[in-house]
């Protein structure tokens, strides 16, 4: 049998304002929500600590009654956020919910495997609501209308599912629990009816003749014959939290302080649904009547408010608002946190959320264009280098490690990471030996107690690039370069190997035709240089 839970947040506008208070301890004080023009503003709702103040009093009367009373006015973004938070509360227990102002309904009949009984479900709902900064009443019944009535009777009320027992539950309740409209309530009072049981004894057809369809529906409700449809709906895609400020903020720290509350509340709502934040959009209302958008991308879903706040702070410090901020709204994209099965044979790697925060801080430090994953550029220019957006291949999707070449064999095949082109085996070793010029370049081979290494124990020789290539002046002889002079280097050429010709990009406006040389210079280093047209450039040195 189905059981519908109704969760009601009484005085949700007042609760919305209390949610916005940074310190939860402050919420226990005497607060009143007021509305109305100027000095004639009247109290709409009060907290338990302000029991002497009654709704309907003017603010002046309320302040005279309780001088420590703090009066607040409702702000629509806060109320909307509280209403959405209430829906998220229901979505924490069911995939779809039915909502109405200050209430959310969800199917609680299938929670039997998680909770021992419906009372435990109700207690869990209240506990989770407290984490969201809401105080709620919970009623569970076989139908939506009965659950709504149950909500009005107590903080937690469970209406039995059996119709006879449900009628017995309803019978002693006062008629006000059915919330009839004022005309019908007057009529029923004139008829001398005071309890739901007395109304249930009337025949619906006869009541319909006198009070219309609304009256007949009340009688059916009193008989526990509810026909109100339960229409659950899928949740919204994003979680939104926002607030308006009394005073415009023009510095970063107070702005971040305000954002902290919004982020905490949004993450608490996501946590209710077992979700995490996959991305954050910040909408800042700035003076005069304009707004600015800041996107805060995340590498992976997170529930850590500290990391989110850090990313927001970095984004705001990088692109500060152009004018004082009068309000803000955050839009949080929900995502499921996938459990990662760690590999027994591989290191764990950086935690995705900490990695995201680190990447953001690095981007702020050196600029986003200087942080990333290097990739072999699709060009024949040797100095070219492509940096991709940092997306380290960690976690579940980590591929099997690439084979590291075994330098002890000559026939190792190495594949570039882009997989476009493979390199064949090394050529047969040429007649290598000491260059014979070590004395010239000042190097004294010292084998001493060193281990004799076979040629097969060699590593891959790297080039250390000058970016951009340094322009140099070169003295040419018939056999090749004889000396060169650059901004930082002046040297004679001891051995020059080359030229190796490379040309390309003739199909574009950036055609090049280069002749590369490997130069053993008198300073001991082995340089790579090229001639492009009339100019010579030092590309780097072998290292």
């Amino acid at each position: 049998m189905s059981s519908i839970a109704c969760v009601h947040a009484p005085d949700i506008a007042l609760q919305a304002m209390l949610r916005g208070l940074a310190d939860a301890g402050d919420r226990k004080g005497p607060f009143a929500l007021a509305a109305g023009p100027g000095g004639r503003a009247s109290v709409l709702a009060v907290t338990a600590a302000a029991a002497n103040v009654r709704p309907g009093m003017t603010v002046a009367q309320a302040m005279a009654t309780l001088p420590s009373l703090r009066v607040m006015t409702a702000r629509q973004p806060d109320v909307d956020a509280a209403t959405s938070a209430l829906a998220d509360l229901g979505l924490g227990f069911a995939p779809r919910v039915d909502t109405e102002p200050a209430r959310v309904f969800f199917q609680a009949g299938d929670l039997g495997q998680l909770y021992p009984d419906l009372s435990a479900v109700a207690h869990a709902v209240r506990a989770r609501a407290t984490r969201l900064g809401l105080e709620v009443r919970v009623g569970i019944a076989a139908s939506k209308g009965l659950a709504r009535i149950a909500c009005r009777t107590a903080e937690i009320a469970i209406v039995p599912a059996v119709p006879a027992a449900a009628r017995a539950f309803l019978a002693p309740l006062p008629l006000a629990m059915l919330a009839p409209c004022p005309e019908i309530a007057d009529a029923l009072a004139r008829w001398g009816l005071h309890t739901v049981g007395e109304l249930a004894r009337l025949r619906p057809e006869e009541v319909a003749v006198r009070l219309g369809a609304a009256g007949a529906r009340l009688v059916r409700l009193a008989r526990a014959q509810d026909d109100e449809a339960f229409l659950p709906q899928a949740p919204a895609d994003a979680v939104e939290e926002g607030t308006e400020l009394d005073y415009a903020l023009d510095s970063l720290e107070p702005l971040v302080f305000m954002l902290r509350g919004l982020i905490d509340r949004a993450l608490a709502r996501l946590a209710c649904r077992g979700l995490a934040c996959a991305g954050l959009t910040l909408r800042l209302m700035v003076e005069p009547r304009s707004f600015e958008i800041r996107e805060v991308p995340l590498q992976s879903p997170t529930r850590e408010s500290g990391i989110l706040l850090q990313l927001v702070r970095l984004e705001l410090s990088r692109r500060a608002p152009s004018a004082p901020v009068t309000g803000m709204t955050i839009l949080v994209l929900p995502a499921r946190v996938r459990a990662t099965q760690l590999d027994m044979l591989r290191p764990n790697g950086p935690a995705p959320d900490r990695l995201a925060a680190t990447l953001a801080r690095l981007s702020a430090l050196v600029g986003p264009e200087h942080v990333g994953t290097p990739r072999v550029a699709d060009t024949w220019r040797e100095e070219a280098m492509t940096i991709d957006r940092p997306c380290l291949d960690v976690g579940e999707s980590r591929p099997v490690p690439l084979p590291v070449p075994d330098f002890t064999t000559e026939s190792t095949e190495i594949t570039e990471t882009d997989g476009k082109e493979g390199f064949g085996p090394d050529p047969e070793p040429v007649s290598s030996g000491l260059c014979g010029l070590c004395a010239l370049c000042g190097e004294t081979p010292d084998r001493g107690t060193a281990h004799a290494t076979s040629p097969n124990d060699s590593g891959a020789l790297a080039i250390r690039r000058f970016r951009p290539p340094q322009e140099v002046e070169v003295i040419m002889e018939r056999s090749g370069p004889a000396a060169f002079r650059g901004k930082e280097t002046v040297a004679r050429v001891l051995i020059a190997a080359g030229p190796y010709r490379i040309s390309g990009e003739w199909w574009s406006g950036r055609a090049f035709h280069r002749e590369y040389w490997d130069i053993h210079a008198s300073d001991g280093a082995v340089y790579r240089m090229h001639q492009d047209g009339e100019k010579w450039f030092l590309d780097g040195y072998y290292d």
């Binding site: 994953t373 990739r375 960690v394 190495i414 290494t453 790297a462 000058f466 030229p499």
Partner: protein, 250 residues
């Protein structure tokens, strides 16, 4: 049923991936807190690889092979599936040659940060945790860096059990490095040019072809190797560079 008969039942593709429990540690590539490099000589000098949780320094002049050793260290750290980061102060990194040296670029985070920013970037990366190796390539210009920065780097490495490798032209980290490897040039090898293909035209004006460099590895600071050798010779060969170029020309 015996273990051998169970193995026979497994498909060949699956049984090829089975690892005896006694070899798990070896497969993990983390032997007693070391991160092995792809160079056996260096691993022998260091007693198994770069030690975790300390700052290590690799110093050598131009063409002494320090960048080649850096690539080999990155390849060794990433071999077991981990993640490494390179803070490049001079933007000298060549991804093409690094990939050819066995560095899986998809798991390498590269940061270009000049001067003091390089040290700060390395600190941030180490503090993030989870990196097996964070290399700080300071380059040829050795700037004056405050001792407090090295101290923070060392404490971060200790906390996160990360290899913090500082690559410099001359020793810079001093007492803050637990291990220092000093490189010196031994020689340059040129070989006679050969025609790799009949279809490739090679200019014959130049007499030689660069085939590699030879360097000397010595331990400037740290625990002496088990076999007592105080330095090793190492060769770095130009891996199919010319062949690759010429093939592309075709």
């Amino acid at each position: 049923m015996s273990a051998a008969s169970l193995l026979d039942l497994l498909p060949a593709a699956l049984s090829a991936h089975l690892i005896p429990a006694r070899r798990l540690e070896e497969k993990c590539g983390d032997k007693r807190g070391f991160v092995a490099t792809a160079l056996p000589q260096l691993d022998a000098l260091l007693g198994g690889g770069w030690p975790r949780g300390v700052v290590s320094e690799l110093a050598g002049p131009r063409s002494s092979g320090r960048t080649s050793i850096l690539h080999a260290s990155l390849a060794g750290a990433l071999k077991s599936g981990g993640v490494a980061a390179l803070v490049d102060a001079e933007q000298a990194f060549d991804p093409r040659l690094a990939a050819r040296a066995g560095v899986p670029l998809a798991r390498l985070l590269w940061v270009h940060a000049p001067g003091m920013q390089a040290l700060r970037a390395a600190e941030l990366l180490i503090d993030a945790g989870g990196f097996d190796l964070v290399a700080l390539d300071i380059g040829d210009k050795n700037p004056r860096l405050p001792d407090a920065a090295w101290l923070r780097l060392r404490r971060g490495a200790e906390r996160q059990r990360t290899v913090a490798l500082v690559v410099t032209a001359s020793p810079l980290v001093r007492a803050f490095a637990s291990v220092a490897v000093i490189l010196s040039r031994q020689g340059v090898d040129f070989g006679e040019r050969q025609n790799f293909s009949r279809n490739v035209q090679i200019c014959s004006a130049a007499p030689a072809l660069l085939t590699g460099l030879r360097s000397n590895l010595a331990l400037g600071r740290g625990r002496a190797p088990v076999d007592g050798a105080d330095h090793y010779s190492i060769e770095f060969s130009v891996m199919a560079r010319s062949t690759d170029q010429l093939r592309r020309k075709r």
